[in-house]
Amino acid sequence: MAESKLKLNGTEVEFAPGETLLQVAERNGVDIPTLCYLKDCTPTGACRMCVVEVKGARTLVASCAMPAGNGMEVQTDTEKVRTARRLAVELLLSSGHHNCLVCEANGECKLQALAYEYGVDAVRFSPPAETYPIEDDNPLITRDFSKCILCGRCVQACNEVQVNRAIGFGYRGAEAKIVTTGDRPYDQSDCVFCGQCVQACPVGALTEKKAKGKGRSWETKKVRTTCPYCGVGCQLWLHVKDNQIIKVTAVEDAQPNRGRLCVKGRFGYDFIHSPERLTTPLIKENGEFREASWDEALDLVAERFMEIKKEHGPDSIAGVSCARSTNEDSYNMQKLFRAVIGTNNIDHCART
């Protein structure tokens, strides 16, 4: 069997059959910048950021799409490579209207970060004269095609990751654009608003509408937690600023969701900030609720349960626990019923 070894920046490394140069480099701790590359998806080689020099190759090659080959000699950070990457950034910056000052993605834009890293200090080429109108006809996702670099990550996120098949490339050449069937707004298309495209967008072309103006990425604290909806238990990052969740993204590489979310997990978080929240204990008197202190309300509950228990026995009290709250809450509730009230009359809606 042929050996599977290549030279990466002068060091001999092994690779597995089918691995790309990018994967070999990543595994060996060599950083190659990418824009269009989306993990676990078909490589497109569209953005040319990940180019590397391969000895004997006619041109620079896109490492995300190039399978590793035995005996290859690969250089990932030569002057030639850096020059090519700088040019790629310059061309992408002039492909649309990238105004970082007013961009929601400022601070977490990959193109912005690469422009900085590759020392692009002026845009040599003129951007197109016309700008696309911004699409925000739907309540959740803002699309600004003037910022789209046509990397295709959103298309892959929709078709290969979530497999919702709602968007793709449309038109040709300079007219090329990401479209739904019939180039309609999201809310009139097959889109189900999982927002995986937004998470995949490396620039400010796709952003969360609800997060707009709520906080810059460097101002937010990220807290990892588990989604409160179905029984899959997706892992989320809550982006928090000023005691408010302003955005939710998926935790990449985490079990069980591996960077994926659905519409409820990604966008159904702000119920906790609703003005309708209950904020004080309430006691019903003559058919109406009135506000009460915790001591008064808790004393009343304990007193009434003790009365009922004394008069009718512990089995005359029943408890419905919550399948949405934490384990610790459920534990304490069943303990209250068993150890304090003295009955096994505790159940929850496992059946609904």
Partner: protein, 528 residues
């Protein structure tokens, strides 16, 4: 679930029954779709042509409530054609002869008569399943929410054991849990028959263990399940009720009956984060912290105990639920030590539930752990019954006879109503209804009907209709869709006025006491 979500995109064969995964468990569905795109085969069994049907090798649109007949028919073919896993059945299971005798009565022709799935399709599916191993069987509430729910579950297990699919990666019997922490609430003993970790209240050793841990005497008789609790309120057997975070006035079948029962209560306490249709019946409402306002854990469908973390402060005087219970216990004479989610888990739950001994907060900062985790070095259990070695000894075939739903269509109520969830909402919208955007994407409930019924009844898409059962009547908009088969109406329970539970039948599986949400008889009329 016996297996893990990590298996989904690696699997080569799926048998999905009664699970509208793309809407009720969308992220799980993405992995199934990935697998299909990589060549996996999928048999989808569902009365409706759900979105997953686009990806299915074969979609079997069976009649509502005929699952056992279909599964028995499949097993009949497997045995008759000698396609079942004889080695597995011999070494890992008991009760094969009983199963064989039972499914003998379900030749494909009879299964066709009951389920509406052609006999030749049943034969084809059985052969396909036998030829592609292991296969993952997934089900959801389409299997359990029937008066024969337990038998449905047994039949799924029988089928997978007969195929020798239980105990392997990418195999197993995999119920997707409906709510985020249903698994955890069960694990924690919020059930009338078991303490935390499924230790039976009727077992003297378990009782002694918890008596020692909690320093009290405990009762050893089974408690009431939810339907008995509500009926108990109605007939005076139950006087006081504590309802924690549930909107039972909308989620339970036959709302009129549930509300009637609650009206009779002497005293009701609710912990909640919002006023709901249920808190109207409360004497005391206690404002609780919500998700992301307190620290703790959820346990997902694959038995993974995950951290949930406090990210923001709760509004006003809202307090953690565990604190509320602890304070009531104190006022009733008991001082509990644990004072945070972590203390409750580390010092009580993991000390008392053997399957969770190895889980401590310090070990689940990242991806959590799947129980059983018997000790602190154990890395968790991605699938159960390894190699067909069942944790309880041998796998026990429990054959089941098909039984029809408790209420079937007749002249007065000629259609079957089946219910479930829609993508943009959850339960009674206490959360999703207050999350910006989701209401705009789905602002009302519809009665989903077939093209054939729409034509017959002269109803056009988008017209107002009245849907009635023996228990109630609602008005809503008709949605004419090819998803639904003739003779069937489908709707969800997300919206109060047009809630399916005004109509659903308050009848239950005799063992699990799960309601028959998936089948009742209704009539549909155009509103003039």
């Amino acid at each position: 679930m016996t297996n893990s979500f990590a298996d989904f995109d690696k699997a080569k064969m799926f048998f999905i029954i009664g699970s509208n995964m793309t809407e009720a468990h969308p992220v799980a569905a993405t992995f199934v779709k990935n697998a299909v795109n990589n060549g996996a085969k999928m048999i989808l069994v569902d009365p409706r042509r759900t979105a997953l049907a686009e990806f299915a090798t074969m979609h079997l649109p069976l009649k509502v409530g005929s699952d056992i007949a279909l599964l028995n028919g499949l097993m009949h073919v497997l045995i008759k054609e000698d396609l079942y896993d004889k080695e597995y059945v011999k070494s890992c299971t008991v009760g094969f002869e009983e199963l064989k005798a039972a499914v003998e009565n379900y030749p494909p022709e009879r299964a066709e008569e009951i389920s509406g799935i052609p006999a030749e399709t049943i034969v084809e599916v059985a052969r396909l399943m036998a030829a592609n191993k292991p296969a993952m069987l997934m089900y959801t509430l389409g299997i359990t929410e029937h008066t024969c729910g337990v038998n449905n579950v047994m039949s799924c297990a029988n089928f997978q054991m007969l195929l020798g699919n239980v105990g392997f990666e990418c195999g197993g019997v995999n119920p997707l849990r409906g709510q985020n922490n249903v698994q955890g609430a069960c694990d924690m003993g919020a059930l009338p028959n078991v303490y935390p970790g499924y230790q039976k209240v009727t077992d003297p050793d378990a009782k002694a263990k918890f008596e020692k841990a909690w320093g009290v005497e405990l009762d050893d008789k089974l408690g009431m399940m939810m339907p008995a609790m509500f009926d108990g309120l109605g007939d005076g057997k139950v006087k006081g009720m504590y309802i924690f975070g549930e909107n039972v006035a909308n989620t339970e079948p036959d709302i009129t009956h549930v509300e009637h029962c609650m009206e009779h209560a002497e005293f009701i306490v609710c912990n909640d984060i919002f006023h709901t249709e249920t808190t109207r019946f409360a004497d005391v409402v206690l404002p609780a912290t919500a998700w992301s306002e307190d620290d703790g854990t959820f346990t997902n469908s694959e038995r993974r105990v995950n951290r949930v973390r406090k990210a923001v402060e709760a509004p006003g005087d809202a307090k953690p639920n565990w604190w509320i219970f602890k304070e009531i216990a104190k006022r009733m004479g008991q001082e509990w030590e644990s004072n945070s989610g972590q203390e409750i888990w580390d010092n009580e739950v993991s000390m008392l539930a053997p399957s969770m001994t190895g889980i401590k907060f310090s070990r689940i900062e990242g991806d959590g752990l799947q129980w059983p985790v018997p000790d602190l070095d154990h890395l968790g259990t991605p699938f159960l019954h390894k190699d067909g070695c069942f944790t309880c000894g041998l796998g026990n075939f429990k054959p089941a006879e098909w039984t029809p739903p408790a209420e079937v269509p007749d002249e007065e109520y000629p259609l079957v109503l089946s219910t479930g969830r829609r993508l943009y909402h959850y339960h009674t919208r206490t959360q999703t209804g207050r999350s910006g955007g989701l209401n705009e994407l789905l602002g009302e409930e519809t009665a989903d009907i077939s093209l054939a019924d729409a034509k017959k009844l002269g109803i056009a898409n988008g017209e107002r209709v009245r849907l009635s059962s023996r228990r109630g009547s609602i008005e809503l908009t008709a949605k004419v869709t090819p998803e639904v088969q003739e003779g069937m109406v489908w709707m969800a329970f997300h919206f109060r006025e047009a809630c399916a539970n005004w109509l659903t039948n308050g009848v239950y599986d005799p063992v699990s006491q799960t309601a028959e949400y998936k089948a009742c008889a209704v009539k549909l009329e155009k509103v003039a």
